[in-house]
């Protein structure tokens, strides 16, 4: 039965849609970051779920998923740091120069 075979990848598709909806409606960057992670998880599920054979799962997509997860976490970490710095900057005492360079430039 198709649905049974496709259960996990379909769940992935739903996650993609959900995550996207969250991304669209959540107006805080950190929440958006979270939503993007949900989308990513959905994609990984599709990738893995469609690589299932009769008795085992294809190691190739597994490897791709692991790579994807690592890339995702790297980006999430950077994103979180960026969100934090933006928030810091907006609350900096001298709000005027907030969005300019960080003062690192000569």
């Amino acid at each position: 039965m198709a649905i049974v075979e496709h259960l996990y990848p379909l769940t992935g598709a739903v996650l993609v849609g959900l995550g996207l909806y969250g991304f669209l409606t959540l107006r805080h960057p950190l929440r958006q970051l979270l939503a993007v992670n949900v989308v990513g998880a959905g994609i990984f599920l599709i990738l893995g779920g469609l690589g299932r054979g009769a008795d085992s799962t294809d190691p190739f997509p597994q490897a791709l998923v692991i790579t994807g997860i690592v890339v995702a976490v790297a980006l999430t970490a950077f994103g979180a740091a960026l969100i934090l710095r933006v928030a810091e900057d907006e609350r900096a005492p001298d709000g005027t120069a907030a969005d300019d360079t960080n003062g690192n430039h000569p």
Binding site: L20, F23, L24, Q32
Partner: protein, 562 residues
């Protein structure tokens, strides 16, 4: 003749131009007045030495044209050369001490070069060059004294001159084209004589030359411009320069082929000028103006005759010698009269009487007193004028007589005792003598018959009745103390200038309105659009919009791919 005499022809033109260039030298400039009489000497030499009707082709210059001296050209050239010479002599005394003597000398030379060149040109280009030189270089002579009236006169002069030039150029082009692109005057004239020639060429040429020659109603510049110039300049303007126009007609009109309409129109214009100008001139107060009108009148006569001859299709040989002779006489006589104005203004008492007497002689000749040179030339020309024309010419003695009488009475008196300079008297006398004598001596050579083969005094007397009537009228008027009314100079000019002034003012007003209506540049154009763009961009910069677009594009692409 060891040297090819035809080489004289370029010298005729180049020599005055060289003198003109010398005027430009700072040290030499003002002294060039002394050279004025020298300028026409090569022309005089050419009159005697240069071969007739032999074209000296000049390559590399202009459009590869040539110079040559035609039979009528000789008469024009000789008359002009003589006048220029004596006027030059006169001028070197008259203009002495003038602050603008250098300018005067410079343009005198240039006009002279052009004027003589016109008579020598064998091709359109050089003819046009010389004609334009005469027209344009004469302007500084007209406005020499820089008085407001002169400036106005100059303005009228230059405007009409330019219009005339333009008309001529247009006529020349069409003519040259009709003749297959040639620029040789003879060929163009021949092609005009062809039955299917374009009358437009003729009209353009008549207009162009007519302006120069004072053809009514294109004459309006003449009565104001000629008097404005210094006396010697007036003399050459009226005596020689107008002849350039006449010579143009002589050269270009297609003699030998009948142009009834064009010829009649020209005749009408000419003859109406003959009378109208004379009558109007008779009511002028300034002797030079009177003389200028006289010029208009006399030239009207000439052109009227030419028009009649053209209408009748007379051949060149039958018309031109007489015309040339008439022009010669008129040029010399008019020169003498103009110079006389200057002389009379410096003479008193008996001397003045003598001067007036001499001038009266010349004037009577111009008016056509029988047995004078003027009558001789008139009789020569009557043959070409047709019956009606001849009658008119005969009648014109009345108006001419009145006019010239008026001239004599308007002559200025000397303010203070002054020594009459010989250098001014001699030219006047010489010119008067030449005017009175030369036609006699040339008559036979030109017309081929002896003057007054048989003198019929009775007929002569009868034919002089208009002049007699004029004399009676003048005497009567003097007797009852009637003064001729003083009309403003320039007849039609007043109307024209008023209308044009109004038009210019209107145009300027319109222009200034347009200028003020110009939208302010650099302002924010279409503020709504700018704002809309701003909002659109802000929307796009939002990532929600981007994501939605992403979804839509993905769906759209999918749809497009399916």
């Amino acid at each position: 003749m060891t040297v090819a005499p035809s080489l004289l022809l370029p010298v005729v033109i180049l020599w005055p131009i060289l003198l003109a260039l010398l005027c430009l030298l700072p040290k030499l400039g003002p002294r060039m007045l002394l050279a004025l009489p020298l300028a026409p000497l090569p022309a005089l030499a050419a009159v005697f030495l240069a071969p007739r009707d032999q074209t000296l082709s000049v390559t590399w210059v202009l459009l590869d044209g040539g110079l040559r001296l035609t039979e009528p050209g000789v008469l024009f050239l000789s008359g002009a050369a003589v006048l220029w010479f004596w006027a030059g002599v006169y001028a070197l005394r008259y203009m002495r001490g003038d602050p603008r003597a250098r300018t005067f000398a410079l343009f005198w030379m240039l006009v002279l070069a052009g004027n003589l060149g016109v008579f020598l040109a064998a091709d359109l280009a050089s003819f046009y060059v010389f004609f334009a030189l005469v027209s344009l270089a004469a302007y500084p002579l007209v406005i020499h004294d820089r008085k407001p009236a002169s400036m106005r006169a100059g303005a009228v002069y230059i405007i009409l001159a330019v219009i005339g030039e333009t008309a001529l150029l247009a006529g020349f082009m069409i003519g040259a084209h009709a003749a297959g692109g040639t620029i040789l005057i003879d060929e163009i004239r021949d092609s005009l004589a062809a039955p299917r020639a374009d009358p437009l060429v003729l009209w353009l040429m008549i207009a162009g030359f007519g302006i120069k020659a004072g053809l009514v109603p294109l004459h309006v510049w003449l009565p104001v411009a000629h008097p404005a110039a210094p006396v010697p300049a007036s003399a050459v303007l009226s005596g020689a320069i107008v002849k350039a126009g006449i010579f143009g007609l002589v050269t270009f009109l297609p003699w030998g082929s009948a142009w009834p309409i064009s010829g009649t129109l020209l005749a009408l214009a000419g003859f109406s000028g003959l009378f109208a100008a004379a009558l109007y001139g008779a009511m002028q107060g300034n002797p030079k103006t009177v003389l200028a009108y006289s010029t208009v009148s006399q030239m009207g006569l000439l052109m009227g005759v030419m028009g009649a001859a053209l209408a009748a299709g007379l051949s060149a040989a039958s018309v031109l010698p007489a015309v040339a002779l008439y022009a010669l006489h008129h040029g010399l006589a008019k020169g003498a009269l103009f110079l006389g104005v200057g002389v009379a203004g410096k003479a008193r008492g008996v001397v003045r009487g003598l001067v007036i007497a001499a001038l009266a002689m010349v004037a009577l000749s111009v008016a056509g007193l029988p047995l004078t040179a003027g009558a001789l030339t008139k009789s020569a020309i009557k043959g070409s004028a047709g019956d009606f024309g001849a009658t008119l010419i005969g009648l014109s003695a009345l108006t001419s007589g009145l006019l010239l009488a008026r001239f004599l009475f308007t002559l200025p008196k000397a303010e203070k005792e002054d020594r009459l300079p010989g250098l001014m008297v001699v030219p006047m006398v010489a010119l008067a003598a030449a005017a009175l004598a030369l036609p006699w001596s040339l008559y036979a050579a030109v017309t081929g018959k002896a003057p007054y083969g048989t003198i019929d005094f009775l007929a002569l007397g009868v034919s002089a009745w208009p002049l007699g009537l004029a004399a009676v009228l003048v005497i009567a008027a003097l007797g009852i103390g009637l003064r001729a009314p003083s009309l403003p100079e320039g007849d039609l000019l007043g109307v024209v200038s008023r209308v044009s002034a109004r038009a210019v003012a209107a145009a300027q007003a319109a222009a200034s309105v347009r200028a003020s209506e110009k939208p302010v540049e650099n302002g924010q154009t279409l503020p709504e659009l700018a704002e809309g763009l701003e909002r659109l961009e802000r929307l796009i910069n939002d990532h929600t919009a981007t994501s939605v677009s992403l979804i839509l594009i993905a769906l759209g692409l999918f749809a497009a791919l399916t």
